[in-house]
Protein backbone atom coordinates (compact mmCIF):
# COMPACT_ATOMS: atom_id res chain seq x y z
CA UNK A 1 0.00 0.00 0.00
CA UNK A 2 1.47 3.39 -0.98
CA UNK A 3 2.03 6.20 1.46
CA UNK A 4 0.97 9.68 0.39
CA UNK A 5 3.28 12.21 1.91
CA UNK A 6 2.82 15.94 1.51
CA UNK A 7 5.54 18.49 2.09
CA UNK A 8 5.31 22.24 2.36
CA UNK A 9 8.68 23.90 2.10
CA UNK A 10 9.79 27.33 3.14
CA UNK A 11 11.11 29.13 0.07
CA UNK A 12 12.55 27.08 -2.76
CA UNK A 13 14.66 29.00 -5.19
CA UNK A 14 15.80 31.60 -2.70
CA UNK A 15 19.09 29.78 -2.37
CA UNK A 16 20.47 26.57 -3.72
CA UNK A 17 20.31 24.80 -0.35
CA UNK A 18 16.56 24.71 -0.52
CA UNK A 19 16.55 23.86 -4.19
CA UNK A 20 18.93 20.96 -3.66
CA UNK A 21 16.82 19.86 -0.73
CA UNK A 22 13.73 19.77 -2.94
CA UNK A 23 15.49 17.79 -5.67
CA UNK A 24 16.91 15.35 -3.15
CA UNK A 25 13.53 14.91 -1.55
CA UNK A 26 11.83 14.17 -4.85
CA UNK A 27 14.62 11.79 -5.86
CA UNK A 28 14.45 9.94 -2.59
CA UNK A 29 10.69 9.66 -2.84
CA UNK A 30 10.67 8.35 -6.39
CA UNK A 31 13.34 5.81 -5.46
CA UNK A 32 10.88 4.34 -3.03
CA UNK A 33 8.01 2.60 -4.81
CA UNK A 34 5.80 2.76 -1.75
CA UNK A 35 5.86 6.54 -1.52
CA UNK A 36 3.95 9.20 -3.43
CA UNK A 37 4.55 12.84 -2.66
CA UNK A 38 2.85 16.19 -3.03
CA UNK A 39 5.59 18.82 -3.03
CA UNK A 40 4.55 22.38 -2.24
CA UNK A 41 6.47 25.56 -1.60
CA UNK A 42 5.23 28.44 0.52
CA UNK A 43 7.48 31.01 -1.12
CA UNK A 44 8.41 32.33 2.32
CA UNK A 45 4.82 33.40 3.03
CA UNK A 46 3.21 32.11 6.23
CA UNK A 47 -0.29 32.62 4.91
CA UNK A 48 0.48 30.53 1.87
CA UNK A 49 2.02 27.83 4.03
CA UNK A 50 -1.02 27.64 6.26
CA UNK A 51 -3.22 27.41 3.18
CA UNK A 52 -1.03 24.59 1.91
CA UNK A 53 -1.38 22.75 5.21
CA UNK A 54 -5.14 23.07 4.89
CA UNK A 55 -5.03 21.85 1.32
CA UNK A 56 -2.93 18.84 2.28
CA UNK A 57 -5.34 18.02 5.07
CA UNK A 58 -8.23 18.41 2.68
CA UNK A 59 -6.52 16.08 0.18
CA UNK A 60 -6.23 13.51 2.97
CA UNK A 61 -2.52 12.74 2.66
CA UNK A 62 -1.10 10.20 5.08
CA UNK A 63 1.64 12.38 6.56
CA UNK A 64 2.76 15.98 6.29
CA UNK A 65 6.31 17.30 6.38
CA UNK A 66 6.63 20.99 7.09
CA UNK A 67 9.62 23.32 6.80
CA UNK A 68 8.16 26.14 8.83
CA UNK A 69 8.27 29.69 7.56
CA UNK A 70 7.63 30.73 11.14
CA UNK A 71 8.03 28.25 13.97
CA UNK A 72 5.08 29.60 15.90
CA UNK A 73 2.59 30.79 13.33
CA UNK A 74 2.14 27.34 11.87
CA UNK A 75 1.20 25.73 15.19
CA UNK A 76 -2.57 26.09 14.77
CA UNK A 77 -2.32 24.67 11.28
CA UNK A 78 -0.27 21.79 12.63
CA UNK A 79 -2.93 21.27 15.26
CA UNK A 80 -5.51 20.98 12.51
CA UNK A 81 -3.57 18.16 10.95
CA UNK A 82 -3.18 16.58 14.35
CA UNK A 83 -6.94 16.79 14.90
CA UNK A 84 -7.51 15.27 11.47
CA UNK A 85 -5.29 12.40 12.53
CA UNK A 86 -2.47 13.17 10.13
CA UNK A 87 1.04 12.85 11.59
CA UNK A 88 3.26 15.92 11.10
CA UNK A 89 7.06 15.88 10.81
CA UNK A 90 8.95 19.17 11.08
CA UNK A 91 12.05 19.53 8.95
CA UNK A 92 15.14 21.75 8.92
CA UNK A 93 14.07 24.31 11.51
CA UNK A 94 11.89 23.45 14.42
CA UNK A 95 8.56 24.81 15.54
CA UNK A 96 8.08 26.35 18.96
CA UNK A 97 7.62 24.18 22.02
CA UNK A 98 3.92 24.91 22.32
CA UNK A 99 3.42 22.94 19.15
CA UNK A 100 5.48 19.90 20.15
CA UNK A 101 2.41 18.00 21.31
CA UNK A 102 0.97 18.12 17.79
CA UNK A 103 4.01 16.83 15.91
CA UNK A 104 5.56 13.42 15.74
CA UNK A 105 9.16 14.38 15.22
CA UNK A 106 11.66 17.01 14.20
CA UNK A 107 14.39 16.18 11.75
CA UNK A 108 17.14 18.62 10.85
CA UNK A 109 20.31 20.40 11.86
CA UNK A 110 20.81 22.19 15.14
CA UNK A 111 21.29 25.80 14.13
CA UNK A 112 22.31 26.97 17.58
CA UNK A 113 25.09 24.43 17.65
CA UNK A 114 26.11 25.47 14.17
CA UNK A 115 26.43 29.06 15.33
CA UNK A 116 28.49 28.14 18.35
CA UNK A 117 30.73 25.85 16.31
CA UNK A 118 31.37 28.72 13.93
CA UNK A 119 32.41 30.81 16.93
CA UNK A 120 34.82 28.08 17.95
CA UNK A 121 36.33 27.87 14.46
CA UNK A 122 36.87 31.61 14.46
CA UNK A 123 38.32 31.65 17.95
CA UNK A 124 40.69 28.75 17.32
CA UNK A 125 42.05 30.45 14.27
CA UNK A 126 42.60 33.70 16.15
CA UNK A 127 44.45 31.77 18.84
CA UNK A 128 46.67 30.23 16.18
CA UNK A 129 47.39 33.67 14.89
CA UNK A 130 47.87 34.99 18.38
CA UNK A 131 45.38 37.80 18.04
CA UNK A 132 42.68 36.39 20.31
CA UNK A 133 43.01 39.37 22.65
CA UNK A 134 42.65 42.18 20.17
CA UNK A 135 40.70 40.86 17.19
CA UNK A 136 37.70 42.76 15.90
CA UNK A 137 35.04 41.02 13.88
CA UNK A 138 31.84 41.84 12.04
CA UNK A 139 28.82 39.64 11.45
CA UNK A 140 26.65 39.37 8.37
CA UNK A 141 23.44 37.63 9.34
CA UNK A 142 20.77 35.92 7.25
CA UNK A 143 17.36 37.17 6.26
CA UNK A 144 16.01 39.07 9.27
CA UNK A 145 13.19 37.30 11.01
CA UNK A 146 14.00 33.77 9.87
CA UNK A 147 14.46 31.21 12.60
CA UNK A 148 17.58 29.84 10.99
CA UNK A 149 19.14 33.28 10.80
CA UNK A 150 18.21 34.12 14.36
CA UNK A 151 19.45 30.84 15.80
CA UNK A 152 22.76 30.90 13.96
CA UNK A 153 23.41 34.44 15.14
CA UNK A 154 22.41 33.57 18.68
CA UNK A 155 24.59 30.46 18.82
CA UNK A 156 27.55 32.48 17.59
CA UNK A 157 27.02 35.48 19.80
CA UNK A 158 26.52 33.36 22.93
CA UNK A 159 29.48 31.10 22.35
CA UNK A 160 32.09 33.65 21.24
CA UNK A 161 32.54 35.39 24.63
CA UNK A 162 32.86 31.99 26.28
CA UNK A 163 35.80 30.90 24.12
CA UNK A 164 37.35 34.21 23.15
CA UNK A 165 36.20 36.82 25.65
CA UNK A 166 38.45 39.55 24.26
CA UNK A 167 37.34 39.40 20.67
CA UNK A 168 34.90 42.23 19.92
CA UNK A 169 31.98 41.90 17.59
CA UNK A 170 31.82 45.48 16.35
CA UNK A 171 28.75 45.37 14.16
CA UNK A 172 26.09 43.07 12.72
CA UNK A 173 24.09 43.78 9.57
CA UNK A 174 21.85 41.42 7.62
CA UNK A 175 22.88 40.14 4.20
CA UNK A 176 19.52 38.50 3.50
CA UNK A 177 21.14 35.21 2.37
CA UNK A 178 22.18 37.24 -0.65
CA UNK A 179 25.73 37.38 -1.94
CA UNK A 180 25.30 40.75 -3.60
CA UNK A 181 23.68 42.40 -0.59
CA UNK A 182 26.38 41.00 1.62
CA UNK A 183 29.06 42.39 -0.64
CA UNK A 184 27.58 45.87 -0.29
CA UNK A 185 27.37 45.57 3.47
CA UNK A 186 31.00 44.47 3.62
CA UNK A 187 32.11 47.35 1.42
CA UNK A 188 30.67 49.78 3.92
CA UNK A 189 32.23 47.89 6.85
CA UNK A 190 35.61 48.16 5.19
CA UNK A 191 35.28 51.88 4.80
CA UNK A 192 34.14 52.25 8.35
CA UNK A 193 36.53 49.97 10.22
CA UNK A 194 40.22 49.77 9.53
CA UNK A 195 40.96 46.80 11.75
CA UNK A 196 38.61 44.01 10.77
CA UNK A 197 40.23 40.66 11.50
CA UNK A 198 37.33 38.33 11.01
CA UNK A 199 33.92 38.05 9.33
CA UNK A 200 31.22 35.64 10.40
CA UNK A 201 28.50 35.11 7.81
CA UNK A 202 25.22 33.22 8.28
CA UNK A 203 26.08 31.10 5.25
CA UNK A 204 28.87 30.77 2.71
CA UNK A 205 26.97 32.59 0.02
CA UNK A 206 27.11 35.73 2.09
CA UNK A 207 30.59 34.92 3.29
CA UNK A 208 31.86 34.81 -0.27
CA UNK A 209 30.09 38.09 -0.99
CA UNK A 210 32.04 39.64 1.88
CA UNK A 211 35.22 38.01 0.63
CA UNK A 212 34.69 39.55 -2.82
CA UNK A 213 34.35 42.96 -1.23
CA UNK A 214 37.56 42.51 0.72
CA UNK A 215 39.42 41.34 -2.37
CA UNK A 216 38.15 44.29 -4.40
CA UNK A 217 39.31 46.65 -1.69
CA UNK A 218 42.67 44.90 -1.53
CA UNK A 219 42.30 43.97 2.13
CA UNK A 220 44.10 40.73 2.97
CA UNK A 221 44.41 38.59 6.02
CA UNK A 222 40.79 38.70 7.10
CA UNK A 223 39.46 35.42 8.47
CA UNK A 224 36.13 34.42 6.91
CA UNK A 225 33.92 31.90 8.60
CA UNK A 226 30.48 30.84 7.41
CA UNK A 227 27.78 28.44 8.48
CA UNK A 228 26.47 26.00 5.88
CA UNK A 229 29.21 25.26 3.45
CA UNK A 230 28.30 26.02 -0.16
CA UNK A 231 30.30 25.03 -3.22
CA UNK A 232 31.54 28.62 -3.60
CA UNK A 233 32.77 28.57 -0.02
CA UNK A 234 34.47 25.23 -0.50
CA UNK A 235 36.27 26.53 -3.58
CA UNK A 236 37.35 29.67 -1.77
CA UNK A 237 38.73 27.46 0.97
CA UNK A 238 40.65 25.49 -1.62
CA UNK A 239 42.15 28.75 -2.79
CA UNK A 240 43.05 29.56 0.77
CA UNK A 241 40.98 32.72 0.88
CA UNK A 242 38.24 31.54 3.16
CA UNK A 243 38.90 29.88 6.47
CA UNK A 244 36.06 27.65 7.46
CA UNK A 245 32.39 26.82 7.72
CA UNK A 246 29.88 24.24 8.91
CA UNK A 247 29.29 21.23 6.74
CA UNK A 248 25.61 20.61 6.23
CA UNK A 249 24.14 18.57 3.45
CA UNK A 250 20.67 19.34 2.14
CA UNK A 251 20.58 15.83 0.75
CA UNK A 252 21.01 14.39 4.24
CA UNK A 253 18.43 16.88 5.47
CA UNK A 254 15.83 15.86 2.87
CA UNK A 255 16.47 12.15 3.15
CA UNK A 256 16.27 12.29 6.91
CA UNK A 257 12.94 14.05 6.78
CA UNK A 258 11.45 11.59 4.31
CA UNK A 259 12.80 8.63 6.23
CA UNK A 260 11.34 9.98 9.46
CA UNK A 261 7.95 10.31 7.82
CA UNK A 262 8.13 6.78 6.45
CA UNK A 263 9.20 5.44 9.82
CA UNK A 264 6.33 7.22 11.53
CA UNK A 265 3.86 5.82 9.02
CA UNK A 266 5.28 2.32 9.38
CA UNK A 267 4.76 2.54 13.11
CA UNK A 268 8.42 2.59 14.05
CA UNK A 269 9.65 4.41 17.09
CA UNK A 270 11.34 7.70 16.15
CA UNK A 271 13.12 10.04 18.53
CA UNK A 272 11.38 13.36 18.90
CA UNK A 273 14.44 15.47 18.17
CA UNK A 274 16.17 13.91 15.24
CA UNK A 275 19.26 16.11 14.67
CA UNK A 276 21.73 15.12 12.01
CA UNK A 277 25.30 16.07 12.59
CA UNK A 278 26.82 19.18 11.04
CA UNK A 279 30.58 19.08 11.57
CA UNK A 280 33.13 21.89 11.38
CA UNK A 281 35.00 22.25 8.13
CA UNK A 282 38.16 24.33 7.76
CA UNK A 283 41.05 24.55 5.36
CA UNK A 284 42.81 22.06 7.62
CA UNK A 285 40.31 19.23 7.43
CA UNK A 286 38.47 19.93 4.20
CA UNK A 287 40.02 16.94 2.46
CA UNK A 288 37.73 14.75 4.55
CA UNK A 289 34.66 16.30 2.94
CA UNK A 290 33.32 16.14 -0.55
CA UNK A 291 32.64 19.43 -2.27
CA UNK A 292 29.01 20.39 -1.72
CA UNK A 293 26.81 19.99 -4.79
CA UNK A 294 25.04 23.30 -4.32
Amino acid sequence: ETMKIGITQNNVGVDSYQTTYEKAFIDAASANPNVETVVLDAGGDVARQIAQMEDLIQQEVDAIIIWPTNGEAVIPAVRKAYKAGIPVIVTNSNIAEQGFEFVKSFSGPDNITQGSRAAEIMCDKFKDMGIENEAEIVQISGQPGYTTAIERAKGFEDRLPEVCPNVTLVETQPGDWNREKSQKVMEAFLVKYDGIDGVYAGDDNMGVGALNAAKAAGREGIIFVGATNFAVGYEAMERGEYWGSIYQSPVDDAEAALQTAIDVLSGKDVPFLNYFDTPKITQDNMAEFEKPVF
Binding site: D15, S16, E171, P174, N178, A188, V191, K192, F294
Partner: protein
Amino acid sequence: MRPSNLSGVGTFLAKQGILVAFALFMIGFTIANERFLDPDNIMGVIRSSAILGVMALGVTFVVISGNLDLSVGSMMSFATIVVLDLHDKIGPTLAIPSMYAMVLCLGALIGFLVGYLKLNSLIVTLGMLSAIHGLTLTYSGGKNMDIADKEGTWFSVFGQSDALGIPVPILIFALLASVLGLALAKTPFGRKVYAVGGNGTAATFSGIRRARVVFTCYLASAFCVGTAGLLQASRSLGSQNTVGQGLELEVLAAVILGGASLLGGSGTIFKTVIGVLILGFIQNGLLLVGLQFYAQYVVTWIIIILAVWLDIAAKRGKLWSPIA
Protein backbone atom coordinates in the same frame (compact mmCIF):
# COMPACT_ATOMS: atom_id res chain seq x y z
CA MET B 1 2.94 89.48 -23.29
CA ARG B 2 5.32 91.27 -21.04
CA PRO B 3 7.57 88.87 -19.19
CA SER B 4 7.54 89.14 -15.42
CA ASN B 5 10.91 88.79 -13.81
CA LEU B 6 11.93 85.72 -11.91
CA SER B 7 15.35 85.78 -10.36
CA GLY B 8 17.87 83.42 -11.92
CA VAL B 9 18.56 81.65 -8.64
CA GLY B 10 14.88 81.11 -8.01
CA THR B 11 14.37 79.54 -11.41
CA PHE B 12 17.37 77.33 -10.92
CA LEU B 13 16.15 76.12 -7.54
CA ALA B 14 12.71 75.53 -8.89
CA LYS B 15 14.06 73.43 -11.74
CA GLN B 16 16.70 71.54 -9.80
CA GLY B 17 15.11 70.96 -6.41
CA ILE B 18 16.36 67.41 -6.50
CA LEU B 19 19.96 68.53 -6.88
CA VAL B 20 19.59 70.78 -3.88
CA ALA B 21 18.19 67.90 -1.88
CA PHE B 22 21.11 65.76 -3.01
CA ALA B 23 23.63 68.36 -1.87
CA LEU B 24 21.94 68.64 1.52
CA PHE B 25 22.21 64.89 2.16
CA MET B 26 25.82 64.81 1.16
CA ILE B 27 26.61 67.60 3.60
CA GLY B 28 24.62 65.91 6.36
CA PHE B 29 26.41 62.60 5.98
CA THR B 30 29.79 64.22 5.78
CA ILE B 31 29.18 65.90 9.11
CA ALA B 32 28.06 62.59 10.58
CA ASN B 33 31.06 60.60 9.38
CA GLU B 34 34.11 62.19 7.82
CA ARG B 35 34.96 59.00 5.93
CA PHE B 36 31.87 59.51 3.85
CA LEU B 37 33.67 61.88 1.51
CA ASP B 38 36.71 59.64 1.25
CA PRO B 39 37.35 59.26 -2.51
CA ASP B 40 37.54 55.48 -2.15
CA ASN B 41 34.17 55.44 -0.52
CA ILE B 42 32.62 57.70 -3.15
CA MET B 43 34.06 55.56 -5.90
CA GLY B 44 32.84 52.46 -4.10
CA VAL B 45 29.30 53.76 -3.80
CA ILE B 46 29.12 54.79 -7.42
CA ARG B 47 30.55 51.47 -8.48
CA SER B 48 28.02 49.48 -6.54
CA SER B 49 25.23 51.80 -7.67
CA ALA B 50 26.24 51.25 -11.26
CA ILE B 51 24.26 48.04 -11.63
CA LEU B 52 21.08 49.56 -10.26
CA GLY B 53 21.86 52.68 -12.25
CA VAL B 54 22.20 50.93 -15.57
CA MET B 55 18.83 49.32 -15.03
CA ALA B 56 17.30 52.63 -14.05
CA LEU B 57 18.41 54.16 -17.35
CA GLY B 58 16.28 51.73 -19.30
CA VAL B 59 13.37 52.00 -16.95
CA THR B 60 13.47 55.77 -17.38
CA PHE B 61 12.57 55.28 -21.04
CA VAL B 62 9.73 52.97 -20.13
CA VAL B 63 8.38 55.27 -17.45
CA ILE B 64 8.54 58.35 -19.65
CA SER B 65 6.64 56.48 -22.33
CA GLY B 66 3.87 56.11 -19.75
CA ASN B 67 4.47 52.51 -18.73
CA LEU B 68 6.07 50.54 -15.94
CA ASP B 69 8.64 47.77 -15.87
CA LEU B 70 8.55 45.61 -12.78
CA SER B 71 10.27 42.72 -14.50
CA VAL B 72 13.76 44.21 -14.51
CA GLY B 73 14.80 42.59 -11.26
CA SER B 74 13.99 39.08 -12.27
CA MET B 75 15.22 39.67 -15.80
CA MET B 76 18.53 40.79 -14.35
CA SER B 77 18.78 37.54 -12.40
CA PHE B 78 18.07 35.69 -15.63
CA ALA B 79 20.75 37.56 -17.53
CA THR B 80 23.30 36.96 -14.80
CA ILE B 81 22.58 33.26 -14.53
CA VAL B 82 22.54 32.76 -18.28
CA VAL B 83 25.79 34.55 -18.96
CA LEU B 84 27.53 32.70 -16.13
CA ASP B 85 26.27 29.37 -17.35
CA LEU B 86 27.19 30.00 -20.96
CA HIS B 87 30.58 31.33 -19.93
CA ASP B 88 31.68 27.86 -19.03
CA LYS B 89 29.81 26.18 -21.87
CA ILE B 90 30.65 28.30 -24.91
CA GLY B 91 33.16 30.80 -23.58
CA PRO B 92 32.72 34.44 -22.70
CA THR B 93 33.00 35.79 -26.23
CA LEU B 94 29.91 33.92 -27.34
CA ALA B 95 28.18 33.94 -23.99
CA ILE B 96 27.78 37.69 -23.89
CA PRO B 97 25.98 38.15 -27.22
CA SER B 98 23.87 35.06 -26.57
CA MET B 99 22.76 36.46 -23.25
CA TYR B 100 21.90 39.80 -24.84
CA ALA B 101 19.91 37.99 -27.51
CA MET B 102 17.86 36.10 -24.96
CA VAL B 103 17.21 39.14 -22.82
CA LEU B 104 16.24 41.22 -25.83
CA CYS B 105 13.77 38.50 -26.81
CA LEU B 106 12.15 38.84 -23.40
CA GLY B 107 12.12 42.61 -23.81
CA ALA B 108 10.57 42.23 -27.22
CA LEU B 109 7.89 39.98 -25.80
CA ILE B 110 6.98 42.55 -23.17
CA GLY B 111 7.16 45.31 -25.74
CA PHE B 112 4.83 43.36 -27.99
CA LEU B 113 2.32 42.76 -25.23
CA VAL B 114 2.33 46.31 -23.94
CA GLY B 115 2.97 48.18 -27.18
CA TYR B 116 1.14 46.27 -29.84
CA LEU B 117 -1.50 44.43 -27.82
CA LYS B 118 -1.92 47.43 -25.50
CA LEU B 119 -2.08 45.34 -22.36
CA ASN B 120 -1.61 47.06 -19.03
CA SER B 121 2.10 47.31 -18.37
CA LEU B 122 1.92 46.91 -14.61
CA ILE B 123 0.27 43.52 -14.86
CA VAL B 124 2.26 42.36 -17.86
CA THR B 125 5.56 43.12 -16.19
CA LEU B 126 4.40 41.79 -12.84
CA GLY B 127 3.45 38.61 -14.66
CA MET B 128 6.83 38.59 -16.34
CA LEU B 129 8.50 39.11 -12.98
CA SER B 130 7.06 35.85 -11.86
CA ALA B 131 7.40 34.03 -15.18
CA ILE B 132 11.04 34.99 -15.71
CA HIS B 133 11.84 33.92 -12.18
CA GLY B 134 10.33 30.55 -13.05
CA LEU B 135 12.36 30.52 -16.24
CA THR B 136 15.57 31.23 -14.36
CA LEU B 137 14.87 28.47 -11.87
CA THR B 138 14.16 26.06 -14.68
CA TYR B 139 17.30 27.10 -16.51
CA SER B 140 19.60 26.76 -13.50
CA GLY B 141 17.76 23.96 -11.80
CA GLY B 142 17.56 26.32 -8.85
CA LYS B 143 21.27 26.11 -8.16
CA ASN B 144 23.82 28.83 -7.74
CA MET B 145 25.76 29.42 -10.89
CA ASP B 146 29.51 29.83 -10.63
CA ILE B 147 32.30 30.16 -13.10
CA ALA B 148 34.65 27.22 -12.67
CA ASP B 149 37.91 28.99 -13.35
CA LYS B 150 37.57 32.31 -11.60
CA GLU B 151 41.22 33.30 -11.86
CA GLY B 152 41.80 32.47 -15.50
CA THR B 153 39.02 34.36 -17.26
CA TRP B 154 39.10 37.80 -18.77
CA PHE B 155 35.39 37.98 -18.13
CA SER B 156 36.01 39.83 -14.88
CA VAL B 157 37.05 43.00 -16.70
CA PHE B 158 33.54 44.44 -16.78
CA GLY B 159 32.92 44.23 -13.09
CA GLN B 160 36.27 44.26 -11.39
CA SER B 161 38.93 46.13 -13.30
CA ASP B 162 39.81 49.78 -13.63
CA ALA B 163 40.47 51.83 -16.73
CA LEU B 164 41.92 55.33 -16.60
CA GLY B 165 41.89 54.92 -12.86
CA ILE B 166 38.16 54.55 -12.79
CA PRO B 167 36.33 51.28 -12.19
CA VAL B 168 34.95 49.87 -15.42
CA PRO B 169 31.35 49.56 -14.14
CA ILE B 170 31.33 53.30 -13.57
CA LEU B 171 32.67 53.91 -17.05
CA ILE B 172 30.03 51.67 -18.57
CA PHE B 173 27.32 53.36 -16.54
CA ALA B 174 28.58 56.80 -17.56
CA LEU B 175 28.87 55.83 -21.19
CA LEU B 176 25.41 54.31 -21.31
CA ALA B 177 23.95 57.26 -19.45
CA SER B 178 25.48 59.68 -21.95
CA VAL B 179 24.33 57.75 -24.98
CA LEU B 180 20.84 57.14 -23.68
CA GLY B 181 20.64 60.64 -22.27
CA LEU B 182 21.41 62.11 -25.67
CA ALA B 183 19.03 59.71 -27.36
CA LEU B 184 16.24 60.77 -25.06
CA ALA B 185 16.90 64.49 -25.04
CA LYS B 186 18.08 65.14 -28.54
CA THR B 187 16.89 62.58 -31.06
CA PRO B 188 13.55 62.29 -32.82
CA PHE B 189 13.02 58.99 -31.07
CA GLY B 190 13.43 60.62 -27.66
CA ARG B 191 10.94 63.28 -28.61
CA LYS B 192 8.47 60.59 -29.56
CA VAL B 193 8.93 58.85 -26.24
CA TYR B 194 7.92 62.03 -24.44
CA ALA B 195 5.00 62.51 -26.80
CA VAL B 196 3.68 58.99 -26.35
CA GLY B 197 3.93 59.27 -22.60
CA GLY B 198 2.50 62.78 -22.48
CA ASN B 199 -0.60 62.00 -24.51
CA GLY B 200 -0.66 58.74 -26.43
CA THR B 201 -3.77 59.63 -28.37
CA ALA B 202 -2.41 62.95 -29.52
CA ALA B 203 0.85 61.26 -30.43
CA THR B 204 -1.02 58.78 -32.62
CA PHE B 205 -2.93 61.65 -34.20
CA SER B 206 0.45 63.19 -35.00
CA GLY B 207 1.50 60.13 -36.94
CA ILE B 208 3.72 58.62 -34.30
CA ARG B 209 3.66 54.85 -34.26
CA ARG B 210 2.99 54.54 -30.62
CA ALA B 211 3.28 50.77 -30.46
CA ARG B 212 6.68 50.89 -32.06
CA VAL B 213 7.90 53.54 -29.65
CA VAL B 214 6.73 51.58 -26.61
CA PHE B 215 8.23 48.42 -28.05
CA THR B 216 11.57 50.13 -28.51
CA CYS B 217 11.50 51.48 -24.95
CA TYR B 218 11.15 47.95 -23.62
CA LEU B 219 13.98 46.83 -25.86
CA ALA B 220 16.11 49.61 -24.42
CA SER B 221 15.13 48.52 -20.95
CA ALA B 222 16.02 44.91 -21.73
CA PHE B 223 19.36 45.98 -23.16
CA CYS B 224 20.14 47.86 -19.96
CA VAL B 225 19.07 44.91 -17.87
CA GLY B 226 21.35 42.66 -19.90
CA THR B 227 24.21 45.05 -19.27
CA ALA B 228 23.42 45.11 -15.58
CA GLY B 229 23.43 41.31 -15.56
CA LEU B 230 26.78 41.33 -17.31
CA LEU B 231 28.25 43.71 -14.73
CA GLN B 232 26.79 41.66 -11.93
CA ALA B 233 28.08 38.38 -13.27
CA SER B 234 31.48 39.83 -13.94
CA ARG B 235 31.68 41.44 -10.54
CA SER B 236 31.10 38.27 -8.56
CA LEU B 237 31.76 35.55 -11.18
CA GLY B 238 28.98 33.57 -9.58
CA SER B 239 25.43 34.21 -8.57
CA GLN B 240 22.23 33.12 -6.92
CA ASN B 241 18.97 32.87 -8.81
CA THR B 242 17.59 35.69 -6.76
CA VAL B 243 20.37 38.19 -7.31
CA GLY B 244 18.08 40.81 -8.82
CA GLN B 245 15.06 40.11 -6.65
CA GLY B 246 13.42 43.24 -5.33
CA LEU B 247 15.56 45.53 -7.46
CA GLU B 248 12.52 46.51 -9.52
CA LEU B 249 11.16 48.66 -6.74
CA GLU B 250 14.54 50.18 -5.97
CA VAL B 251 14.99 51.03 -9.62
CA LEU B 252 11.55 52.56 -9.77
CA ALA B 253 12.24 54.51 -6.61
CA ALA B 254 15.41 55.91 -8.16
CA VAL B 255 13.63 56.90 -11.35
CA ILE B 256 10.84 58.58 -9.46
CA LEU B 257 13.21 60.23 -7.04
CA GLY B 258 14.77 61.72 -10.15
CA GLY B 259 11.44 63.36 -10.84
CA ALA B 260 9.92 61.23 -13.60
CA SER B 261 6.17 61.08 -13.34
CA LEU B 262 4.56 57.66 -13.33
CA LEU B 263 1.91 59.07 -15.62
CA GLY B 264 4.55 59.44 -18.29
CA GLY B 265 5.80 62.34 -20.34
CA SER B 266 8.35 63.72 -17.92
CA GLY B 267 11.76 62.89 -16.50
CA THR B 268 15.30 62.90 -17.80
CA ILE B 269 18.25 60.54 -17.77
CA PHE B 270 20.33 63.07 -15.88
CA LYS B 271 17.81 63.24 -13.08
CA THR B 272 17.53 59.49 -12.95
CA VAL B 273 21.27 59.32 -12.43
CA ILE B 274 20.89 61.77 -9.57
CA GLY B 275 18.09 59.60 -8.17
CA VAL B 276 20.31 56.53 -8.35
CA LEU B 277 23.17 58.30 -6.62
CA ILE B 278 20.92 59.65 -3.90
CA LEU B 279 19.69 56.15 -3.11
CA GLY B 280 23.20 54.74 -3.20
CA PHE B 281 24.64 57.42 -0.95
CA ILE B 282 21.75 57.21 1.50
CA GLN B 283 22.29 53.49 1.87
CA ASN B 284 26.02 53.88 2.24
CA GLY B 285 25.83 56.91 4.49
CA LEU B 286 23.47 55.21 6.90
CA LEU B 287 25.65 52.12 7.01
CA LEU B 288 28.63 54.31 7.82
CA VAL B 289 26.73 56.12 10.52
CA GLY B 290 26.12 52.64 11.87
CA LEU B 291 22.36 52.60 12.09
CA GLN B 292 20.61 49.26 12.41
CA PHE B 293 19.27 48.23 9.06
CA TYR B 294 15.75 48.84 10.27
CA ALA B 295 16.57 52.32 11.39
CA GLN B 296 17.91 52.78 7.89
CA TYR B 297 14.51 51.82 6.53
CA VAL B 298 12.86 54.52 8.56
CA VAL B 299 15.40 57.13 7.59
CA THR B 300 15.15 56.19 3.92
CA TRP B 301 11.41 56.64 4.15
CA ILE B 302 11.78 60.11 5.53
CA ILE B 303 14.47 61.08 3.06
CA ILE B 304 12.59 59.88 0.00
CA ILE B 305 9.54 61.86 0.95
CA LEU B 306 11.50 64.95 1.92
CA ALA B 307 13.52 64.88 -1.30
CA VAL B 308 10.50 64.64 -3.53
CA TRP B 309 8.61 67.13 -1.45
CA LEU B 310 11.43 69.64 -1.68
CA ASP B 311 11.58 69.08 -5.41
CA ILE B 312 7.92 69.73 -6.06
CA ALA B 313 7.66 72.49 -3.48
CA ALA B 314 10.43 74.32 -5.32
CA LYS B 315 8.59 73.83 -8.60
CA ARG B 316 5.27 75.12 -7.39
CA GLY B 317 6.81 77.84 -5.24
CA LYS B 318 4.82 76.77 -2.20
CA LEU B 319 5.70 74.42 0.59
CA TRP B 320 2.25 73.02 1.17
CA SER B 321 0.04 71.52 -1.45
CA PRO B 322 -2.77 73.83 -2.53
CA ILE B 323 -5.26 70.96 -2.49
CA ALA B 324 -8.21 71.72 -0.25
